[in-house]
């Protein structure tokens, strides 16, 4: 085997190792899902307060990720936060009276949207609005309420 061939083999091994490392990072370490997004349909909901919800936050149903938050903006008419989310097409049988709440994973973890399916026979379609919502629980508000109540009862 000549030196040139040896170099070529080593470079081949090197590139292969790089590709393996990339695959490990993509599939084992992070949530890589292919270059194109999974096909999905969009629904939106209006919240009074989204707390610390961010774009690309997960949308979960019974703890399973069924979609992602697409965009967060302020609705110009109601001044509420309009959260648009993509729900994967696999989950197209969500009843129209499904409710959405902004929840926190753990005490101080990231925030996500939790869905609770209702009982209606009609299903959510592309562009629909989720009517039943529960805003984020803001820890400071909670403590504030608790303190006021505590003070009132103390009188």
């Amino acid at each position: 085997m000549t030196r040139k061939q040896l170099i070529e083999i080593w470079v081949g091994v090197f590139v292969l190792m790089g590709v393996i490392a990339l695959a490990v990072v993509a599939f084992k370490v992070s949530n890589f899902q292919g270059l194109q997004e999974r096909s999905s349909y969009q629904v939106h909901a209006l919240f009074d307060n989204i707390g610390g919800l961010k774009e690309r936050a997960p949308v979960k149903l019974s703890g399973v990720v069924v979609g992602r938050v697409n965009a967060i903006e302020v609705d110009p008419d109601t001044y509420q936060a309009k959260v648009t989310m993509s729900i994967f097409d696999d989950y197209d049988k969500l009843s129209i009276d499904t409710s959405a709440s902004i929840l926190t994973s753990g005490l101080l973890g990231d925030q996500y949207i939790g869905l609770n399916v209702g009982a209606d026979d009609l299903y959510l379609q592309q562009g629909d609005r989720i009517e039943l919502v529960q805003s984020a629980i803001v820890l400071e508000d909670l403590i504030g309420q608790f303190m006021t109540k505590f003070a009132e009862s103390g009188d």
Partner: protein, 261 residues
């Protein structure tokens, strides 16, 4: 007294002008090099040789360093997280630190010391032994034959090395956390998988490492070409490559982090 102040100011001015002149030469060098870059893909054998010299020969140091950095991260993270009863998050912490910062930065620093300095020394030596002149006299453009393959090789090698560093680091973290400290294996991987985002964390880390590759290649090649063709000149240029590349990586990392995250 007045004379001293004037002298001092003059010295500052002189150093600034020397520095500015060097930057100017560097900019001209890069501008001249750019049109030659596509050539490195016509001459694959030159590129492969440089990938071997810069990449394959850097493997031992990168893999070993990655393993240890991951082990240390995991150990340190565990000691902090165990107080909050969330030691399962050690995998997430290790993976995020490696992907966002330590992987690209440490791999680039090691690369600058291992391959960047060698590149400067080699080109400085080629200059001082008139090999670059000889190439020109043989009507072979040194930009195409010497500089372009090294530049492209660095660009290819740097993200790959960075990825290998990260993978090794996570393996090291896994060994310490799961194998030694008794963190639950399933929780280790699932937490990591759930909180590390491909685009936000991994892709940004890879972009960083490519940017560091460009920086190292420009500095190492320019310092080699700009070296005074004597032994002191070449050794000085080699030192400058390591110093400038290391500082440059850290500064660029700050800028990129500010823009990305």
């Amino acid at each position: 007294m007045k004379q001293r102040i004037l002298n001092f100011l003059e010295q500052i001015g002189q150093s600034a002008m020397v520095l500015l002149a060097q930057w100017g030469r560097g900019a001209i060098f890069v501008a001249n090099l750019l049109p030659a870059l596509p050539y490195s893909f016509y001459r694959l054998e030159l590129l492969i040789k440089q990938v071997y010299f810069t990449g394959v020969l850097s493997l031992p140091i990168i893999l070993t360093a990655g393993l240890f950095v991951g082990m240390v991260l995991s150990l340190q993270g565990y000691n902090v997280l165990v107080d909050f009863n969330s030691e399962e998050a050690v995998g997430t912490m290790t993976a995020l630190s490696l992907l966002r910062e330590l992987g690209p930065v440490v791999a680039a620093l090691l690369f600058a010391g291992r391959a960047g300095s060698a590149m400067t020394a080699e080109i400085g030596l080629m200059k001082s032994t008139e090999q670059l002149s000889a190439l020109e006299m043989m009507a072979v453009d040194p930009r195409k034959f010497v500089f372009a393959p090294r530049f492209s090789a660095t660009l290819i090698v740097m993200p790959l090395l960075s990825l290998m560093f990260i993978a090794m680091g996570i393996l090291g973290g896994y060994m310490v956390a799961v194998g030694w400290l008794g963190v639950d294996e399933g929780a280790f991987w699932s937490q990591m998988h759930a909180s590390v985002d491909w685009r936000e964390d991994a892709v940004n880390g890879i972009i960083k490492s490519v940017a560091f590759g460009v920086l190292i290649a420009v500095i190492a090649l320019f310092q080699g070409e700009d070296a005074v063709p004597t032994s002191e000149g070449v050794s000085g240029a080699t030192t400058r490559t390591v110093v400038q590349a290391s500082l440059g990586i850290l500064a660029l990392d700050f800028v990129l982090t500010a823009v990305m995250f």
